[in-house]
Symmetry: C2
């Protein structure tokens, strides 16, 4: 028995998110199906980031246990032959049998992309959130600095989340603007349910002048979901990658 | 009667190209249909670049004649309400009644995008051509300089094209590489059928070492389609925009 780690990229447009569910096709479901076919074993993967419906990934992580004779490094190639073109495994390798993609300490990076112009641009519609509302990037950058560090992010957590603690550490937020494209990169040791999307929705309110950068301090202190901005739409969010310590 | 110019952006993935045809949905067909609904007149647009099936656009140009009372500048907004999300008009304005998007002197820019890495990346699959073959960008740049200027581009023209002259002027070719993305920008006063895709296919052969940069001179001189490389796949091509003198 060996444990194999997969780096999984996908276009989330046509999926009901990562996690297997009774109705709807999911990324996890497709991986389980293709790995079961490939290995002849009943495979169930464990994912690192259970992304919502419509969220994309350049490098989510999943593991599974197998007795297959296929070398771990070759599994990515064999698996891609069986997966649809909107899910592509970027690499596979053996990991220690006790490696767990959520429980092991890691650094995750997400990017929220905003297309900010007069009209939407069709070829970017699947992975950017469009708004014609002018954004003040400098104010968004100032606001972002208030949430960097260890904080109780209860205000930035969906009320439907079931967690023991809402304390997390954001290591870094970088907001760039190149032509019409604003990108919010967020790196941290873990994220609450909807946390990146609520952060993005709140930073956009700051960008539009509906909130001031210093309001972020009050929002954090409130520990109340209604203090923060709206949950930004899923399709603007992409999981960039995960590194383990 | 007035003539109205439209700047048209689209994701070509789900269309049988620009030009109306008996079987299959086209960009031109969608514009005709939506403009006919909007104006109550039987509208037929004339396009600048009749892009192939799968080719995208950030700024193709089309004109149509109308007696509508809707101000020319407002037509873009009204039309976008009726168009699907993969076609978005970026602007509209009145032009002189004798303005013709193909016959008037113009400068057109296209970009051919190549994703050059070990594995495909799903979110980029619709508008980039994927290859894992390593590309030598410097050689591609050297090769491109041979075709800049006025030349007989018969070798870079589909044998199915029906044209009087195959002489065209390429003003500029810029090839950039940023991370895994190679972009070939081509600007000229007009392009033959499949010309940008054959240029891209030939430059990729140079990038892979199958041809040398100096071979471009021989290919041009041959005036023979079989001397050039393959026609690169349509989905990697995007019409960037057109400026009129």
């Amino acid at each position: 028995m060996k444990r194999v780690k997969l780096i999984v990229a996908y276009d989330g447009t046509n999926y009901h998110g990562w996690q297997v569910q009774p109705n709807g096709v999911t990324i996890e479901g497709m991986l389980n199906h293709s790995l079961t076919e490939l290995t002849g074993e009943s495979v169930v993967v464990t994912g690192a980031s259970r992304t919502d419906a419509g969220v994309h990934s350049l490098g989510n992580v999943a593991v599974f246990d197998t007795n297959t004779k296929i070398p771990a490094e070759k599994i990515s190639f064999a698996l891609n032959q069986r997966l649809p073109e909107d899910i592509v495994v970027q690499g596979s390798c053996e990991v220690p049998i006790d490696f767990h993609p959520r429980r092991c300490a890691s650094r995750k990076t997400y990017v929220y992309k905003i297309l900010n112009r007069t009209f939407p641009m069709p070829i970017y519609r699947h992975d950017t959130y469009f708004t014609y509302r002018k954004m003040d990037i400098e104010n968004m950058q100032k606001a972002a600095q208030y949430v960097v560090g260890e904080h109780d992010f209860k205000s930035f957590c969906s009320v439907h989340a079931q967690v023991d603690s809402t304390v997390r550490t954001i290591e870094n937020i970088t907001i760039t603007k190149e032509q019409d494209l604003i990108q919010i990169y967020v790196t941290g040791n873990g994220f609450l349910y909807h946390m990146v999307r609520i952060l993005a929705g709140t930073l956009m309110q700051v960008g539009m002048g509906e909130k001031q950068p210093k309001d972020m301090r009050k929002i954090l202190a409130a520990c109340d979901r209604t203090a923060a901005g709206p949950t930004a739409p899923a399709h603007g969010l992409t999981m960039v990658g995960i590194s383990y310590f």
